[in-house]
Amino acid sequence: MAYSFPEEVLEHVFSFIHSDKDRNAVSLVCKSWYEIERWCRRRIFVGNCYAVSPRIVIRRFPEVRSVSLKGKPHFADFNLVPEGWGGYVYPWISAMAEAYPWLEELRLKRMVVTDEALELISRSFKNFSALVLSSCEGFTTDGLAAIAANCRNLKELDLRECDVDDRSGNWLSHFPESCTSLVSLSFSCLEGEVSFSALERLVSRCTNLRALRLNHSVPLDKLPNLLRRAPQLVDLGMGAYTAELRPELYSRLGNAFAGCKGLKSLSGFWDVVPSYLPATYSVCAGITFLNLSYATIQSPDLIKLIRQCRNLQRLWVLDYIEDSGLNALAASCKDLEELRVFPSDPFGQEANVSLTEQGLVSVSEGCPKLQSVLYFCRQMTNAALFTIARNRPNMTRFRLCIIEPRTPDYLTLQPLDAGFGAIVEHCKDLRRLSLSGLLTDLVFEYIGTHAQKLEMLSVAFAGESDLGLHHVLSGCKSLRKLEIRDCPFGDKALFVNASKLETMRSLWMSSCSVSFGACKLLGQKMPRLNVEVIDERAPPDLRPESEPIERLYVYRTIAGPRLDMPGFVWTMGDEKSATEFS
């Protein structure tokens, strides 16, 4: 006998359940829960905008207030997805403009957003309050001006790593004088100048402003005024951190920082002049996130800064930090949870800095809470990986990027299979892994056997045969995203594990050995997958079927093949495509 509730009661219970995973579980319990849940779902996350259509989402969830969408696959960040592939947000906006007049929040990642889309957003949703665009492109500052001008209750406007055509600095001036609602304003990826007076006035009147991330056009001497107007800031992204050495600027800066007692996050730091860094010291003790990935300062200056930040939890830094800096980090920052070390000279042939595997080992020893690592380096050993694995079984994200492909263990000249094997064996909660270095099929066997919580795997220049891919697809229970480039993986592993692909969000394979014939077969047999062949050379049917294609993108979908493909993308198994090939 079911424990029954009236609907309102159940709805009230559901209002305390927030995570997508839990809400999805709730909706699959039984018919009545499904119905109740769909009417009270307010936030929706669509990990692949082509997995479902706007119409289906709207039909099922009529009362949504917050939508998150992701478009292009992750490898688009490395220009592996040609321009024009897709990920257009306009169809979603236009559908939602009619269906969700009360929409408040929109979060988009790797999507193509046009000025028209932005204008439509600004006109259609009366209570619109948050627009977050990450790694998006296709719009200009005119679109931003529309958002600024028309969204009366805008709280959040965040542009992160977007590719924006910067037409003028006037977009900021489009915020009406009556706008006082901003809580977060982030435009660090814009290249052009902004009107400083408009910015200052805006910051002054938005007394709830918590996050402000400027672009590098805002000079250092403007910063003290801004900070004085916003002492309540929690997250600051500075503009250019450079100026001639002027004591009065230095002291103004120091005083301004001292006034921002709640500051927790610092970023920006373009063109840093080290002598100005101590001006930030008064707030460093409270800093939990430090983003120095644009700061071209050397290790000694970095060490001085880091030593001030004893409560640091997340550090993003260039490899100028070197092993010595990482040793200092390990000694000073015991609360460190996340470390990202980016390469200062990725295309250089030789190491320009003294950053080795030792730095990472050091941090893994000294920082007991370390769980997320992104590390670019030029050398690694199995022994180092063993040590890291044993030190940090709590690791959840481990992305190692040895810059030169197929680099072996530099001491033993062996592949790094055993080292990565140790990582997946010891770190039982590992959710994300990126491989690099010289790797055989063995590493994939280890991954398939041990990495049971792994959700995302990135592979490049690794493996020897289809067996490698087979191990991963047949072994990793929780796998959702798999992206592969330049590996000798072909058709067989795909066929054997075709039904696994339906349990994943997506699979990307470029410069591998997948044949056109295999793609066709896969597309025909698996109607719930979109099997996209992306080939800029020529229509694949003009070549032998056994010839490998350039890129394969497979994703599960209930929306069927998409209709907005450019000329170099074909969806396999689609009736329409089939008739194009005689």
């Binding site: 509730f5 009236p6 209002s15 709730v26 499904y34």
Partner: protein, 394 residues
Amino acid sequence: MLISVLVTLNNMLVGLALHICFDGGYHQMSECEMVIIKPEVMKSYIWLQTADGSIQQVEEEVAMFCPMICREILQTGMGSSKNYAISLPQRVNPSILSLILDYCRFHQVPGRSNKERKSFDEKFIRIDTKRLCELTSAADSLQLKPLVDLTSRALARMIEGKSPEEIRETFHLPDDLTEEEKLEPLRNTADDPRIRLLNRLYARKRKELREREKLKNVEVEEERVDERSVDDLLSFINGGVGDSKGGKTAKHKKKNRRRKDQAKGTALNNVSKISKKEPEYLSSECNNGEAGNIIESSSSKTSKVQDVAVDSLGPKVEFDDGDIDDELDPAMKEELDREVEDFARRLNSDWPERMQEILSLGQERRHVPISMNGNGSSRRYTRLEQRCTPMDAH
């Protein structure tokens, strides 16, 4: 009307201070209303009646803590005596009522600290699921919002982290969504294809064993290992694909029905039904000899087309588990379980070796062109990812 003073043999309520007068005046207790006065006990009581008819009395201040009761008293004047007991909503049974009243009794005392209240609440909700559900419903009907929130949150915590099946078990809910409906939601959870295969296999086996029972003279052929290469299997499938009706690939030879095992039959069924749009079928059956999971089916011998008795396993079998009745005798069931277990074990343990075998048959190494940063874009890389090698970044 007044809230009149309740006079009983046991409890004398003399609450001049508690009188609330609608007509604006005070009602002095006349001598006839007083029977016994216990000086130390000065309380007002409210009478409440639950749906089952039973009536109980409750201290007034406790009862008034419930908005619904409070409103009833103030608006209708009910509750003053046994005959005029306030009827509580149906969702409030006596045992739940007593729980609720405990809650009210505790919280209506003004002096308590937040810490005390929180501690009480935490202990209070430690009851079994059934009662927690009843309590939530009841609290809602009495409009006792703090208790509704407390119990709702507790229920939410019980739901969080569970799978749909676990939630159903916890709350004794029916599994009444169809497969299609289950698919339609935006699922993020992984679905183990092997488990689905096993379920399908199990169902099919049961059906087949039932058929055999009917026929009475049965010889079960052991599942044989398929030693064909993947390429062979592929070309076999390709031969069957172009055929929309599929009838040609499956010959109905009833006399051979007994000799083949059901996996074979379904393999060819699958082949012959490739053009059918049943998504359910294609995804779960593809393990049996077509594009998906070819190797899984390789333990069944599929070479003899004419051995297939398509009609023994009609087109609906694979899709419709509801079809299968559970009336196998225990011995058969045991045999069935063993066979399925065996198959599962073989699936799990043999895969790597078998895969190696199969892949090594007729495999040619293809040469992969090595390209590093394969793009010639000249855009200025301001984005962090673009400054990094294509190996990885964010």
